[in-house]
Assembly symmetry: C2
């Protein structure tokens, strides 16, 4: 037996008990006649004490050998501490050690195993097993586990069945790039790793499984942007004999359960917003509604005043920053510079100050008198002391730019608080989006998403206008889940493939088995998937998903700890009937 207790559980209740503890040496304080050791494990820290007057000489000798991260086993009695540490649950007691065994030594770790470490990102990733010993990382992985358990228990109670869908499937060149797996037994042929279990979950609905979920690894061979991983985890769900409303209700309930667990608060019904409203009010289909600064369109007020930039603009739109009228020129310029960054791409930013003395002034005083500006301020609902920031241009572009500015302000002003949660549904997404590059429509969600019944005719007359039965769950400015009511009619599905520019042969080759399944009584069905890595990060008040993955890959898709990917030997290639092209 290596331990009678963990390092997180002893208190004054255990006074005078004989205990055995094991763990890592966090710190050693050696005063010569007395040595204190903080012993750490996953559950906490317990203080060990060695004392010239009470500890045998040979144990003291051992104790003096201890270094950081040594693994030890200590036997002793629980005694009351003289100087208590109320911050530590075990801080009222210490262990007077009567026996000590060094189970394993440790070299000095390449960075300190503390909450705030001196290790940089790269070093931490290379020695991830040491990084995981740190509370912030360990706690994130435990949090992830707890959320997964909550999700599984909630869905199981709602009669969902977790079904494992296959990992070795078939490549569908449509969409993102697949990872492929050469088949040795079928030379020249490849499996693909799933980007999502989409078709399998639909087949499970055809198969009568009724309510399916899976917490499942998915794979995408993309050029990695920051915080994208080639393998990621989804909560994948599908339901039969349901309409959009049924899906929203179940997963709103699930999210409420998680939020309640974290905050202790009841979250009422989540607000809903159409895609159009979201874009008009926040310039964004995943608005962060923890804070205001809703978009106010002022084209009607500012056009025809000889200010060519506004006159030429398709849209003039702004936000009101409360209490910011006293910002200095330098402060405002920082935001002007922000929107001019190439990633944002705006040419400028107009500001209007509603001063605390009631006067209104602006960066475009040449074109607008105080009367004009007053009307604008009224439209903004601005009060004395507020600052209005206005941008203009082509509608889609200016909305995206102003949205970026709004989010930057939210960050800078501390309005995006990690421990506040503002969920909402965004609904009524467009079915299709036009892709200039390829000159054809793409499915905004995916090719299996059903159009709204009212918009069926639009599919023929004006497909770009057709809306979909598609919905996203947005939390704190992030899309955490998204889904749709699926097409379950073979004819309609064929029509969609046509619209998306699939030839009959392509559609058959890629989705033939699904189309075939639809011949045998497909039920109405709908579903949704959550990005689990992101969901967990946001629920924990964070946005960096990498910290919530035990062994993440870097931006080149490498695992620097195990040094993968790596070359394989010629025999392996030979067996797979492959040659590299290098």
């Amino acid at each position: 037996m290596y331990r009678s207790h963990t390092n997180g559980e002893l208190s004054l209740k255990n006074l005078n008990e004989k205990v055995t503890l094991s763990g890592w040496v966090q710190t050693v304080r050696d005063k010569g006649f007395m040595i204190w050791v903080d012993l750490r494990d996953r559950y906490g820290i317990t203080q060990l004490v060695f004392d010239e007057s009470r500890t045998s000489a040979d144990i003291l000798v051992e104790a003096k050998k201890l270094g950081r991260e040594f693994v030890i086993q200590a036997e002793g009695s629980v005694i009351e501490r003289e100087s208590k540490n109320p911050k530590n649950p075990t801080g009222e007691i210490e262990i007077l050690v009567s026996n000590l065994k060094i189970l394993n030594e440790s070299q000095l770790p390449p960075f300190t195993i503390e909450d705030e470490t001196d290790g940089g990102e790269e070093l931490r990733m290379k020695y991830r097993y040491l990084d995981i010993r740190r509370n912030p990382v360990k706690d994130k992985l435990i949090f992830r586990h707890k959320m997964a358990q909550k999700v599984r228990n909630y869905l199981s109670e709602k009669d969902f069945i977790e079904v494992e869908t296959p990992v070795l499937i078939k490549s569908t060149p449509e969409g993102a790039r697949d990872f492929v797996v050469p088949s040795r037994m079928n030379p020249g042929q490849f499996y693909a790793l799933p980007q999502s279990p989409q078709t399998f979950k639909q087949l499970l609905m055809v198969g009568g499984m009724d309510r399916y979920f899976q917490i499942v690894k998915c794979f995408r061979d993309e050029d990695l942007r920051a915080d994208r991983q080639p393998e990621f985890t989804q909560i994948d769900c599908e339901m039969a004999f349901v309409e959009q409303e049924d899906v929203l209700e179940i997963f709103e309930g699930m999210t409420q359960t998680l939020l309640k667990d974290i905050t202790g608060k009841d979250f009422g019904k989540f607000p809903r917003m159409t895609y159009d409203e979201a874009l008009r009010n926040y310039g964004n289909d995943k608005p962060d509604i923890r804070f205001g600064m809703k978009f106010i369109e002022i084209s009607d007020l500012v056009k025809g005043k000889e200010f060519k930039i506004f006159d030429d603009a398709e849209l003039v739109v702004g936000i009101n920053v409360e209490g910011a009228a006293d910002w200095t020129r330098k402060q405002i310029d920082a935001y002007v510079d922000f929107v001019k960054r190439p990633q944002i791409g705006a040419t400028g930013l107009v500001w209007i100050k509603f001063q605390s003395d009631g006067a209104i002034t602006s960066s475009v005083n040449k074109f607008y008198n105080e009367e004009d500006l007053k009307k604008v301020a009224e439209q903004f609902g601005a009060n004395a002391g507020d600052l209005m920031l206005v941008m203009s241009g082509e509608t889609n572009k200016v909305r995206a730019q102003l949205s970026a500015l709004r989010m930057e302000l939210g960050n800078q002003l501390g309005l995006r608080k990690g421990n506040e949660f503002a969920p909402l549904w965004v609904v009524d997404f467009p079915l299709l989006e036009w892709d200039e590059e390829t000159g054809r429509y793409h499915a905004m969600h995916h090719p299996f998403t059903s159009p709204k019944k009212d918009d069926f005719e639009l599919l023929t007359t004006d497909p770009g206008k057709a809306r979909a039965n598609a919905y996203d769950l947005v939390l704190n400015g992030n899309e955490i889940g998204g889904g749709s009511v699926r097409i379950f009619d073979r004819e309609l599905q064929s029509k969609m493939f046509d619209l998306l520019g699939f030839t009959r042969e392509d559609a058959e080759a890629q989705f033939g088995f699904l189309m075939n399944a639809f011949k045998f009584g497909a039920p109405p069905h709908a579903g949704l998937a959550f990005g689990f890595d992101r969901l967990v990060a946001i629920l924990d008040g964070n946005e960096v998903i990498r910290d919530y993955i035990a062994f993440p890959k870097n931006n080149s898709g490498r695992d620097v700890m195990i040094d993968a990917p790596a070359t394989i030997n010629d025999a392996q290639l030979e067996e797979l009937s492959l040659k590299t092209n290098l």
Copy 2:
């Protein structure tokens, strides 16, 4: 709203309620003036009734269009049935339909969607989504889900954390063959899919995670034997600061919980058997102890009687088949033929009958008189009416052969009952096994398994004799789980790699990151893994794992439903810097 209730929940309690049901048409019985439809979903079957005198004419017309597997929605009132069906939970009521909507039609399915289907294996796999509609398949998937939930909840309560380990890892040519995944971003390099998360779970222990589990997909590119899948699921576990006893206790508890849930019975402490005992008593390291027929060694009694076959044999060993003395020559010959099959490879089988009249006779009467045979019968503990079957030869071979015979007898005599469970631990496995082909030792469990402390010296003097801290959990003649106490000392691990014939370079290349991790305070740790597919099958009284996998692959590793693997296009190969060798 597609339904107010499922097809499994209505009873006389709901009499006269207006309900809406949806589902598949299981059967239509059309008597002209009345039509009965069995409506099916995952939850059950509800009878719909259409009646000339009570149903409107247009609804009747619709009802007459219905065929098997049509998807429909029906509104109506719950009425009491005249002829009740007590076997069906909804069998006391039926629905008098007032409104009917055909949601989707169905072609005639390629096989009947009944508990006993006329579809052969291949057809069922091609149309797996229809196969899943059948109760036996659906119920198996639901059973699997429930077991997974039980396991997760049990382990979570015991402070285990489910951590997702990566799927894209590094190839280690040692052991079974890896599936590999070419990396586009790192041309000429490959990821591998994990055969198990072994090294990652050990790193999690080094990382202080203390108790880890994961229900996880693993991959092995083997030539598939019957009922082997290229992707399979493990319950993978690891614990720190534990000894073998701690691991056994936790997972005995887990298995007891599952068994209790299934049988309603408490399973006491599981018996334990050493590897040597298992081989001696059952010829097998995974004995089915639901039935007797323990091996009885009789070399000492039968040698030196001029029967050359026994005299030359390293071991003469048999089993006693109770009450089989009256078997005919033909019956016995069937078993003689069985052991002579090339898969078994025996040259013959000696029988000794302890007749009900007390006389003893045998197939080797020429060499043994009744006095000799009586002593043998005594050693067997045989009674009048029993039949002893005896084999001889080289110890390992004859044990394996007799074990195969014992299992065949168990099957034929109906002693291997699916609803009876006999778990046991097999412990004290050898550390190494000698491989004639390669002329070196292989790790019996894996290279990270620790030798027993008492056997440390043997590693140098006689490695083949060294026992390991390794254990298997055996249920009904199947190894359902196995694990070991790991080496956590760098020096000892190096020594193991030497013993296994790894060069320092190979060991470094393949396991360098683990060896490196061991420099920084690795704790003592141990673990185990269950084959989840097999565990579920056996717990459900079955041995065919394929039925417990939603979308299994066939013996060539093909998914015949989606037709994978398949060729990929040249552009994909080009991007991966690969050429096929064909």
